[in-house]
Symmetry: C2
Subunit: 212 residues, 2 copies
């Protein structure tokens, strides 16, 4: 390991490579070159090699990478080699959709609990998970839940965020940007659907923006 600082961007790309490798491993292929993986994913081959080199080289010159082995390595780097339990807060439209999302398992995630403050929702089941009241949040640490997913309206995000941190959560995926992290006890990643949509028109040539 010759590098002092590993770019966040490299970390961000690892899950992409992992998904590609998982796809390819189903095709009873054993080895793959950075070039082939890059073509498969639509990225650059040197980027893949550089990114992997930050964590130590995993390939064989002239041959390429052993798919199964590389999958294990990336899982280990991303700490996906243990199952992570996540708690979701806010079982509205978006929260329900995330609860029902089937794609978490291949990365070793399990949404283990769901919370809402609407008494009508408490006790109901979605995707086999019984919805609990917000007052139960303090039980997360005991239940070894280390990740939180926040899918509630902007206004209530800060309070929920604070409660999750207090409950010992170490990483948060938030669907709104309405929080401040304070003394940063956890890593937060924000997904803001509306804001991502909001910067799309910027890239459309003006001549093609429909006049109203």
């Amino acid at each position: 390991m010759k590098y002092h600082k590993i770019p966040d961007e490299a970390v961000r790309r690892l899950p992409i490579y992992l998904r590609g490798l998982l796809s390819l491993s189903e095709q009873e292929r054993k080895k793959i070159s950075s070039q082939r993986l890059a073509d498969f994913l639509g990225v650059n081959h040197w980027q893949i090699r550089k990114d992997l080199s930050y964590f130590g080289g995993f390939g064989t010159p002239g041959t390429g990478y052993d798919i199964e082995k590389l999958i294990r390595q990336i899982r280990k780097i991303l700490k996906l080699n243990v199952v992570h339990k996540a708690a979701l807060v806010g079982v509205g439209n978006l929260g329900s959709a995330v609860l029902r999302y089937p794609g978490f398992r291949i990365y070793g995630f399990k949404i283990a609990a769901a919370f809402d403050n609407d008494p009508k929702k408490i006790g109901r089941k979605i995707a086999n998970i019984t919805i609990e009241g917000i007052s139960n949040l303090h039980t997360l640490q005991k239940r070894k839940i280390d990740l939180g997913i926040i899918t509630i309206p902007c206004e209530a995000t800060q309070e929920t965020f604070n409660k999750l941190i207090t409950a010992g959560v170490k990483g948060v995926l938030s669907f709104s940007r309405c929080y401040k992290t304070g003394r940063k006890k956890a890593k937060v990643i924000t997904i803001d659907i509306v804001m991502d949509l909001a910067r799309l028109p910027y890239y459309i040539p003006t001549s093609q923006v429909a006049k109203v």
Copy 2:
């Protein structure tokens, strides 16, 4: 305008500033300094000034920025000063949630159509939008719909993506990374929920990763 190249990152932040300004404008405040806006949003004041300077200065030294004026300017830069119509493809759990999402309006978006290939869904209404069959996609241009939102499983993304481009869509928000853009006739922004979650454990100190 003294700059040749405007950072994508600056463009990405403009919608954040815009949201802050919209919040503050409700509080009958007229002027704001970069410092106060920065504190409100939890960002750096020099970053705000720098970002705005790429598009020309909008402030008054010693006084700050006129909130209403700055809102108009940012809207214009982002081309949000005209209403954009978007088509959503894939009315599953996630698609339905996005259709029902109330936050699009303040940025001037209107989801004007929804498509699905499930005959059982076609004709049903969600959030006042009647679901149409995929075969209707070609009507988008006529209907002046210039944005697409893809909320379908990975496997079908590429085909849908191609159809949207053919239908004249100029910007796409995709909820899966399973596409290749080809000759890039449109700007694409990808939101990949699972992959964002997948890089969260990396940042959790190993001692705190629950052993299973």
